[in-house]
């Protein structure tokens, strides 16, 4: 499996809009997906995000810094709140480590916990390392064009291929026809039940690219809970020394 996403928190996006082989795909669908996929491409990136997590029992805000390089390296560092400042997640390939400054230890996230929440958000550890590629793993089909209801949007339905290593049963992407940017992504399980909805909003120009800078994830089982991530800052194609993504660098 190849990986296309450049910065891990947008892996979800890249997953959906990864380019698909021409032979299986409607050229119009392919063009749409390519357009969006290319938008998030780059060899390396550095971003600052605000994260707002709301659950039935608590609500909190985090500020995080995300650095990525190549296909499979990423570093996510908590900047705020003070109590958790410096907690860092390192991703190299399929592996995830968390560095805990309070105890000065690094702990590897075991395979059994990949589907657990990342830092209490509604995103999972798996979302950070997901390498699933739509072109390989899904059959994509345009189910609604902008002139049909919902007017002004493309709707693309993605069904995983029989042996694809994918946890979802179906994905439905809604794309704004005005700028070809995604608006909503719905994740269904294998029984066809909605599991979570990711919405994209607040389109802004950052580092020369037009991007939806806010993503909100709502779990279907708890519609009152949500995790919102907002890009405060994003630089694509920055120079990062290779040792940024090493266990040794985590401790600094």
């Amino acid at each position: 499996m190849r990986r296309l996403a450049t910065f891990p928190l947008l892996v979800v996006l890249a997953m959906i809009f990864a380019p698909v082989p021409a032979h299986a795909m409607d050229p119009e669908v392919k063009k749409l997906l390519d357009r969006i996929d290319d938008m998030f491409r780059g060899t390396s990136s550095k971003a600052t995000l605000s994260m707002h997590i709301k659950t039935a029992n608590w609500e909190r805000n985090l500020k995080i810094e995300v650095m990525s390089q190549g296909k499979d390296k990423a570093l996510i560092k908590i900047l705020e709140p003070a109590k958790e400042k410096g907690i860092t997640t390192l991703r190299v390939g399929d592996n995830l480590w968390n560095y805990l400054p309070k105890v000065d230890r690094t702990i590897k996230v075991p395979a059994a916990m990949m589907s657990s929440s990342w830092m209490g958000s509604h995103f999972t550890n798996d979302d950070l390392v997901q390498e699933s590629r739509l072109s390989d793993d899904y059959d994509a089909k345009m189910t609604s064009k902008p002139d049909q209801a919902p007017k002004g949007f493309y709707v693309i339905t993605l069904i995983p291929k029989p042996n694809a290593p994918v946890v979802w049963g179906k994905l439905v992407a809604k794309i704004d026809a005005k700028n070809d940017l995604p608006v909503e992504e719905a994740y269904y399980d294998e029984k066809g039940k909605l599991v979570r909805t990711l919405t994209f909003s607040n389109v802004k120009e950052i580092d020369g690219r037009k991007l939806p800078t806010r993503m909100t994830l709502v779990p279907a089982e708890h519609p009152k809970e949500e995790t919102t991530m907002t890009y405060d800052d994003l630089h694509i194609g920055v120079d990062l020394p290779p040792r940024t993504f090493s266990l040794q660098a985590l401790r600094q």
Binding site: K83, R105, K108, M113
Partner: protein, 409 residues
């Protein structure tokens, strides 16, 4: 009547060998049933003990939201609840607990585990984890930043006594709780949940890791005997009257285990019925034979004026006397077997290194448990079976036509 008894006694003596064999068969039946039941009850007691003394206790108190999801937020106030529960009559132990789930790490190894925060002194009065330490020692009162690990958890982490374990968890306020604990000991209880997936630490340590100051998820109570459970539950309910807290007995918390134990009880009864069905046919056979053989003699007795009712009584007396002798002998034999099973147990080491049934690990040595009411049942059942199986031959004897009967050769 006394004459009738004497005749019955003589009748038994006249067929000495047959009576002896029947009595021995009955006695062996009684003795073996007693031994079998002692073994099954031993298993039952062991299973119940494992269930209750490993983790559950007899009665538990929770926030009503706890059973559904075991949510971190379904808490009770430690001080208020304990103040009420410490006054409960007949509670041998009252143990407060908090639970969490954490990622445990040691060097480059890590595993997910359930964390259980306990008060070491109170917990030891309810559960027996303290007695199952493989190395190191159990948590100590007032110790801080210590942890004891289940054997499999320790193996996964390659942890030894003294190792430094990092725990990372989602705290109740959403923050990422993390801390370091020293391994004080490693335990093996036989319960898969505890050995493979649990780490114990002191209640204050876990409360601080989870940011749940003064909050607990569970109180487990233990009564003096298994039979005291309903009384204990009702005492706990009245102690907590007016609060919204949920009080459950072990059977309500784990209906599956309760069913297994009930099934086990049913099996003991079935075994008894089978053994006694066999014994009944033996007695029936003996009594029928003796009636057939004595057709002529019984005809004479009838002709002499012995009423049909008395004939029935005579045959029943014979059976009852036989049962008395067999009962006493069987009881003696059974008590001997029971004594052996309770004291030495049945050693199955040649067949197995121990086995697991219904989630409970058993030693290769099975120990018996004697429940007096079961012995009383066995002996009583012997009488009922003997008399019931004598009734048909007795009635048959009473219905003989004296003239016809006397002509028989």
């Amino acid at each position: 009547m006394r004459a009738l008894l004497r005749i019955a006694w003589r009748n038994i003596g006249r067929q000495g060998r047959r009576s002896f064999i029947t009595a021995v068969a009955m006695a062996v039946g009684v003795g073996m049933s007693m031994a079998m039941i002692a073994l099954m009850d031993g298993m039952f007691v062991k299973m119940f003990d494992t269930l209750v003394r490993q983790q559950m206790g007899h009665v538990q108190v929770h926030d009503p939201a706890w059973p559904k999801q075991h949510s971190l937020h379904a808490t009770m106030d430690e001080k208020t609840v304990l103040a009420k529960l410490d006054r409960v009559k007949d509670a041998v132990g009252v143990a407060p607990r908090a639970y969490g789930f954490a990622l445990l790490g040691l060097k480059d190894r890590s595993t997910g585990a359930r964390l259980e925060g306990v008060d070491p002194v109170r917990e030891a009065k309810v559960t027996l984890v303290r007695d199952h330490m493989v190395s190191g020692h159990y948590l100590e009162e007032g110790s801080s930043h210590e942890m004891i690990l289940g054997k499999s958890v320790a193996e996964t982490l390659h942890a030894k006594v003294g190792s430094e374990i990092v725990a990372v968890t989602q705290a109740a306020d959403g923050s990422l709780g993390n801390d370091i604990y020293h391994v004080a000991g490693i335990y093996q209880t036989g319960s898969a949940m505890l050995d493979r997936g649990t780490a114990f630490l002191t209640l204050p340590d876990l409360q601080s890791l989870l940011v749940l100051p003064g909050e607990i998820h569970e109180v487990a109570l233990l009564g003096p005997t298994p039979k005291s459970v309903p009384a204990l539950a009702s005492n706990v309910r009245s102690a907590l009257a007016g609060s919204h807290l949920l009080v459950q007995t072990w059977a309500q918390i784990d209906p599956n285990a309760a069913q297994v134990i009930q099934m086990q009880d049913g099996m003991a009864w079935m075994l008894l019925i089978i053994v006694f069905a066999v014994a009944a046919f033996g007695v029936l056979n003996t009594m029928l034979m003796s009636v057939f053989e004595r057709t002529k003699e019984l005809g004479v007795l009838r002709a002499l004026g012995l009423s049909p009712g008395r004939i029935v009584l005579m045959v029943v007396f014979e059976a009852a006397m036989l049962a008395s002798i067999a009962g006493v002998a069987g009881l003696a034999f059974g008590l001997l077997l029971d004594g052996y099973l309770v004291h030495w147990g049945l050693d199955l080491t040649t067949f197995t290194q121990g086995f697991s049934w219904a989630g409970v690990n058993f030693d290769p040595i099975m120990r018996g448990y004697v429940e007096p009411s079961r012995i009383a049942f066995v002996v009583l059942a012997l009488f009922v079976v003997a008399i019931a199986s004598a009734l048909w031959p007795a009635v048959r004897a009473a219905r003989l036509d004296p003239v016809q009967a006397m002509r028989e050769e």
